[in-house]
Symmetry: C7
Subunit: 100 residues, 7 copies
């Protein structure tokens, strides 16, 4: 399923592509996302950012950039497998916070 | 059902006509759209693009062009058979990402 | 019910009057609208076009003109019999594409 | 219930007062409104027109005038008896088309 | 429950206070509001008018004034007893027409 | 639960804090709020007013001030006990009228 | 689960991160949030504030700052554990009032 050529997903409008973090990659520090929380927040890394959506005829700039770690609600977005890895296409508004 | 004359569909407003990709046409690389995913994403080629919808009295430019491969949610759009081939009329906002 | 005088329907705002095409009139070419499709698209000819709806206090121009063939979703609009012929009053936004 | 003095209804905003046409008054020509149609369109005469609704702080002009015959959806509006005659208060957006 | 001092209700935004008319006060003329009508229109007198609601940062002027008789839908508004009399607080948009 | 220090609640945006009136405080005059009314209107005193909500990027001024008596719908707002007294946080739009 | 390095959550748009107050931290004074209230208001301290959401293409300033105590509705937001402490990501519009 994986090849030498890298597939690139360019998200539309205010969408982003994120890679959910594996247990060992998660923020070493204090962020803990309880499994039984109502909205099941998850941690992920941003791997592609859309150009922004239009409002009043102008594009709104995006507030996240590639490489940032973010928290999002588990029930958001569309799952896709990209070069053997599970990724998710979210709207920026589904991102709750950036983790630093 | 097919003739020598090609039928042309000009999508209205922010709609696009796309041709869902057959298994053998799909991105050679890493894009894999799991059948059991919640939103059933699909891969397709854009074959016609509308002029854009109006916002605040001005047309918003479209972000896709003919020939691009895209990912969309399976439950979007209206199915039509065009010159013997199944196509789909989507709104641009149903397109999740462009595949390169 | 029919007379020598032709009745004229002038659709309001962004509405259009269309005449669903009979089997023998349909695009000779490749357009085939599957009966079992989810949204039951239909082919029709535009016979009257409204002046456009207001947005931000200005009328938006209409994107269809009399005589064009269009595809629309079967469950849209209001059926009326006009001079013995079945017609449909749709909103322009119910038109999916123009057929050429 | 009827008197010599005529009662005047001045519809608010984008409302109109219409008088549903009796069988013998209906457009002599070809307009036929099927009883079993989904939205039960009806023919009526406009007898009063409101000043228009506000959008962006300005009144939008109305597209119908007193005396015009119109088609509207049967399930719209509020029924009132005015000087012995049944009338209906509709919003302009419930009017599908003007009949000529 | 009634006193010599008159209580004043100043309605907020686009609200009005109206006094439903008693049978003997109703328009002498032709207005008849059928009990079995779908939306149960009622006749009332306007006794207080709000300053208007904001749209785009400006107040929209109100289209009714104190003393006017109006028709409104029976299922609108909030009932209050004011100085022994039943009154109703409506939004202006619940008023269908002014009666003259 | 009560102390010498007074707790201050500063309501956000277009919210207000009100103190529902006790039977003996109610408007001496004619205002009577029937228990069995559909929307259960209540009388209260405004004890804090928010700065107003944003519309089109500007704050809208509030139409009530501290000390005014108001009528609101019983099913609005959030109950809090403040310095031993029951208060309610409402949106200004839940206030039906000012009582004078 | 806790480390020497402090994890920082930067909330997106008009979101804030708050730390629900423990019983012993609560406002000494009169604020009492009844458990059986309809909307279950809670007291919390603001620990991070987003940059504000866009309206008409401009960011709206936020009305809360880090360190303030606030009242919010219990059923709002997403629970996260941060450096061993339970925090909540809310939208500013879920905050009812600032407590002083």
């Amino acid at each position: 399923m994986t090849t030498a050529t890298k597939t690139i997903l360019r998200p539309m409008a205010d969408r982003v592509v994120v890679r959910p973090l594996k247990r060992e990659e998660k923020t070493a520090g204090g962020l803990y996302l309880p499994e039984n929380a109502k909205e099941k927040p998850q941690e992920a890394e941003v791997i592609a950012v859309g150009p922004g959506r239009y409002e009043e005829g102008k594009r709104l700039p995006m507030d996240v950039t590639v490489g940032q770690k973010i928290v999002y609600s588990k029930y958001s977005g569309t799952e896709i497998k990209l070069d053997g890895e599970e990724v998710l296409i979210l709207r920026e508004s589904d991102i709750l916070a950036i983790v630093e």
